[in-house]
Chain length 418, copies 2
């Protein structure tokens, strides 16, 4: 799989024979690490707190194999034909029903199935973004989306987050100043408002409302990536942006990668009839009706809701554990977020310690993580790092955090003048 | 599924509230039929010779359900994790092995898995095509690719085909004249050289070599879409363009949609290390490792080759039958192609009969087809139509061709001055 191949150091032989034929946006990215390159950190003996992988014991394999059989028995070849059969249709209905439960006014016609959430974001980007357009994001944000935007040659501005999520006041100030100075406004703001990747923080209700007001006032589209919204382990529900959206400016993205398994590679775009109809025309090619039918069965007759409840309980334990380990072991000068859900904790190392520089030492001590810089559209983030509590066992997690604490302390000692 | 929704007449309410935010290329296409709109012709009682759907009895459902179980038993959660497990890896190896059997020098590292062939073409387009770039295609060609190119805002020029496929001499003349006049050259030529969609014709060996010489001389990339290459029912094998490619300019696209089932939505891009590495960075998001694992098992242990052999025999019968029906029933002034494989026959109606105008009458008589115009990047093709012999039974096929003949004769009678 190309995604598992280290690409960071692949570019020694550049320029390639066809570089001049690529688009300007692609040419700008030549020599940089591509999509998936964050999987390249190679320390097989270390505990990996790097990736947002669900723990594999959580995958409902038996249920999915049984669903495949049941679907074939019920509808024969229809599931495998272009467009799919009844169970594929049921999937969009099941998604719409769950979204209505969150307060979103929608039906199956507002759901456009995609090959995963990143594909969904890519389709939306393709519909709205042209070379030179401007985009706003949280900083830090999901590195996959940053890589994806880079392919469109757009200008990305990142806005800080705090424990209430995106600093919407800073967004407002920038919009105001761009307007005053006649600088270009964004066409699109991409946000992960709930259990954000990588910080784990959740955008407060007040800020959500203000953000939507800004979208209306300054005329941009809001892409709400809610990959983790089903996985709340604490705090109160906050309405999705789409539930608060009165003008159709919010295009919402979801996925089964975290609630079923990444391998099913099925996501969706939920939007008002317009712009969804037009966005749907950009989605080139069909989607995987085999998997959609299996998921359609699993979601309506196969135990999906029970699985989600079990996942919440399992991940809550993991989140509690990683926070306890950080409390127990990390030096006081480090800080971290306190997520109510999702997969991630964001750590700010003590001042003057660069997370990317620390990584080899941390790997030697026995842990890997993703350094903060890769989550920023610019040069910030050197002090931060993302820990995932989704993948390893509780025991491994403790060993990992102990190793991180050792590496941090040793860097702290060196930082001080002797 | 959005693909099954008629979109042709959806646009009465335009302009939408967000039209101004779409890209210029998308705005240009607003009001036009989108990807999938060719599925909208509504005549449920007529025999459908419209779509390139495999006949559903051909889908190896039991084998795929068994493969899913076997994969889960063998590797547990690995198949469902990001990146997939051993069987997902085996799929790329199996594809490379089959491609080597066709004379292409490659290994698994030259195979980039995608969510189907159209996704593959879209990824390649995204890497190379920017607004205003120029593209050459066969005319007629696959309408899905034309829709996809439109999303990039490129200029598409279509070149005629005859019974040896694309008129490469016409391509050469155009390249020469563009060069002489200082007009822009294409960055990319898209071709379906073998059992072309929609004509069923195959590009001759001589023309293949000449086309590659032109690509080198005029510096463009050739995208070889070989969706049908496995399904040869007559004539001699012709080497794929990629097997003749000495410079790495050919990017080859394949799919399991015709040899397994459309629902598995798995295709691939096969290319030299460069440009494939760079193209791979454009593929945003992962792919469906569940399906890939099932296919990896099916291709290596589950009976894939036997299935392909059975498909060849079944489709050969269908091709022979549709050609016999055309011979038996169509008026002499009509002409049609004589495909050695694939799913399609292209019919040229007698002069002065417009296939799109004929369609309602044909549907009343009991048959539907796809009118030729949708396969052209310009206004040509009104005289042609595509028949698919892949989907309906032999009996239905005969009834369909009889209906087409009746509709044609009745149009012929009206065409003549009384």
């Amino acid at each position: 799989m190309a995604e598992d191949t280290p690409t960071t150091d692949d570019d020694g032989g550049r320029p390639g024979a066809f570089d001049h034929l690529f688009t300007p946006a692609v040419r700008d990215g030549l020599g940089e690490a591509g999509y998936g390159s964050w999987r390249a950190i190679d320390a097989p003996d270390a505990v990996s707190l790097s990736f947002g992988f669900p723990f594999p014991e959580s995958f409902p394999n038996d249920e999915l194999a049984a669903a495949a059989e049941a679907v074939f028995e019920a509808e024969g070849g229809a599931a495998m034909q272009y467009g799919g059969g009844e169970y594929a249709d049921r999937l969009a209905e099941a998604i719409a029903e769950r979204e209505r439960d969150r307060g979103i006014d929608c039906d199956a016609g507002n759901v456009l199935l995609t090959n995963g959430a990143t594909h969904a974001i890519d389709v939306v980007a393709h519909a709205f973004l042209d070379r030179g357009d401007h985009v706003f994001v949280e900083a830090p944000t999901f590195m996959g989306t940053l890589k994806l935007f880079a392919n469109y040659g757009v200008e990305v501005a990142g806005f800080e987050t705090d424990d209430e999520g995106l600093d919407v006041g800073a967004v407002a100030a920038e919009l105001e100043s761009r307007t005053a100075e006649g600088r270009p406004l964004p066409k699109l703001l991409y946000t992960i408002p709930t259990f954000q990747n990588p910080t784990g923080t959740t955008l407060s209700r007040d800020r959500r409302e203000r953000l939507l007001d800004l979208a209306e006032e300054y005329d941009f589209v809001v892409v709400e990536d809610d990959a983790y919204g089903d996985l709340r382990y604490g705090g109160d529900d906050v309405a999705p942006l789409k539930a608060l959206d009165e003008t159709g400016r919010v295009v919402r993205v979801g996925t089964f990668s975290k609630t079923v398994a990444p391998g099913v590679r099925t996501g969706w775009i939920l939007g008002d009839d317009e712009p969804l109809d037009t966005v749907g025309r950009i989605r080139a090619g069909g989607t995987n009706t085999f998997t959609q039918s299996v998921l359609g069965y699993y979601c309506t007759e196969g135990g999906f809701e029970g699985n989600v409840a079990e996942l919440r309980a399992a991940y809550e334990k993991r989140r509690d554990h990683i926070l306890a380990c950080l409390d127990d072991h990390m030096p006081e000068a480090a800080e971290w977020t306190d997520p109510d859900g999702g997969f991630f904790v964001w750590v700010e190392l003590p001042e003057g310690i660069d997370a990317e520089e620390l990584l080899p030492r941390a790997a030697d001590e026995g842990v890997t993580y993703l350094p903060g810089e890769m989550f920023f559209p610019d040069d910030r983030g050197e002090n931060g790092l993302r820990l995932s509590f989704s993948y390893v066992s509780l025991d491994e997690m403790e060993r990992g955090i102990e190793a991180l604490a050792r590496a941090t302390r040793s860097a702290l000692r060196e930082r001080r003048p002797r």
